[in-house]
Amino acid sequence: MGDTSPRTSVSTDGDTDHNNLMYLCSLMKGIWVLVLLILATVQRVKWIKRLAQNREAARKSRLRKKAYVQQLENSRLKLTQLEQELQRARQQGVFISSSGDQAHSTAGDGAMAFDVEYRRWQEDKNRQMKELSAALDSHASDAELRIIVDGAIAHYEELYRIKSNAAKNDVFHLLSGMWKTPAERCFLWLGGFRSSELLKLIANQLEPLTEQQSLDINNLQQSSQQAEDALSQGMDNLQQSLADTLSSGTLGSSSSGNVASYMGQMAMAMGKLGTLEGFIRQADNLRLQTYQQMVRLLTTRQSARALLAVHNYSLRLRALSSLWLARPRE
């Protein structure tokens, strides 16, 4: 039997098992660590991928935002350019022969803008008059009535300011009265109502008046009549003068000569048309002055009643217009 048997670490069975177990344990530990490492790397890889995706998405969205802002800037530039063009077109009116409707649309803009403003003014007026009527019915104090009456006069002032601005843009729209209802247009005079007619209306409604008041209102009516006549005559003269300007020289089929004189005529006619704005302003001034003087001549209560009478009359005119427009036709 080999005495010098190589020393092998031959353990006993128990030892072997124990050793095997230890080995297995460490193996398992190793495997476990390995698994953990693998998982960790996988996770890290995922994380890195996510970061990259985020970066990518952020870059894309930055690019998109840049593109959007660029587009906005372009449209803003275009908008300011269009606005400038429009402004220029409005100032020059008919002298733009490029686009067919441009001249018409710029005039239409002014007219429509005024119509809108007028409608808003009308709504305010209705509200004011309701307030006035309520105050009268509830026997409010003179001081309260005074406030409302003064407000109503200031409101008329506002209207004439609006009209004066609109006249700069499109005086013919104002003169046409197309911004008023049909029945109101019956009574159209220089872009509005006649003060003298209004006073006749009020005088009837305002019994009792003192003798002095009666006299004063009468005088006021006469003065406004005189002013209206003077303005009407001025308008007639303008008409005649315009006709004469356009018909001077030969009206027959003309030769191409004398273009300069033709243009001179046109320039003169343009000048005459320009005075229309002044006429409307004077007519509105007359209306305002008449209102202010009327309120001065009457007591607060009487002024309130007068304003309401005028308002109710115009409401009737407007109702008449609605009925007329809705009438059955063959």
Binding site: N237, S241, V259, Y262, A267, M268, T275, Q282, T290
Partner: protein, 162 residues
């Protein structure tokens, strides 16, 4: 929309538009009619109106001082007519001075010197001078007419006797 012009014109439209523009630029500031127009008043009143044509600056001052009421306006101006008619309707016989376009600058500067206490006031035509002093334009005439202040003022300077 193209301006309707003579047919068969030798030049393009923009040329005529240019001509028109130059005419209008010349007329800048004067919204009223040009001097060559001869105004025919519709329905002449029975009272004679003294119309004096402009001679020189000095006479403007004398005119203003000598006349109780004087209306100064551009020749052929329609607003001037309105003022005239208004005053006529009241029974006033105003002197009327019509100014040619060329003398307008001169006359205006002369008028501005006739300010109260030597101060200069801007004058716009048509202008009404009452009792040698600037009364105002159509605005003021209308406002004072309505408020009832005009008639006493006119009586005061002797333009009205009723």
């Amino acid at each position: 929309m193209y301006l309707y012009l003579y047919q068969n014109l030798p030049f393009p439209n923009w040329y005529y538009i240019h001509l028109l523009n130059t005419h209008l630029k010349k007329m800048q500031g004067t919204i009223s009619c040009m001097r060559n127009y001869n105004m025919n008043t519709v329905g002449e009143s029975l009272r004679p109106l003294t119309l004096k044509t402009q001679e020189n600056g000095e006479s403007v001052r004398t005119l203003v001082e000598e006349n109780a009421v004087i209306v100064i306006g551009r020749r052929g101006c329609c607003m001037c007519l309105v003022v005239k008619r208004l005053l006529l309707g009241l029974g006033v016989n105003p002197t009327v001075l019509e100014i040619d376009e060329e003398r307008e600058e001169e006359v205006l500067s002369e008028l501005e010197k006739i300010g109260v206490h030597g101060g200069r006031e801007t004058v716009k035509l048509p202008a009404v001078y009452v009792g040698g002093r600037l009364f105002g334009g159509l605005d003021r005439v209308m406002a004072t007419l309505i408020s009832g202040e005009l008639v006493p003022i006119l009586k005061e300077v002797g333009a009205l006797w009723l």
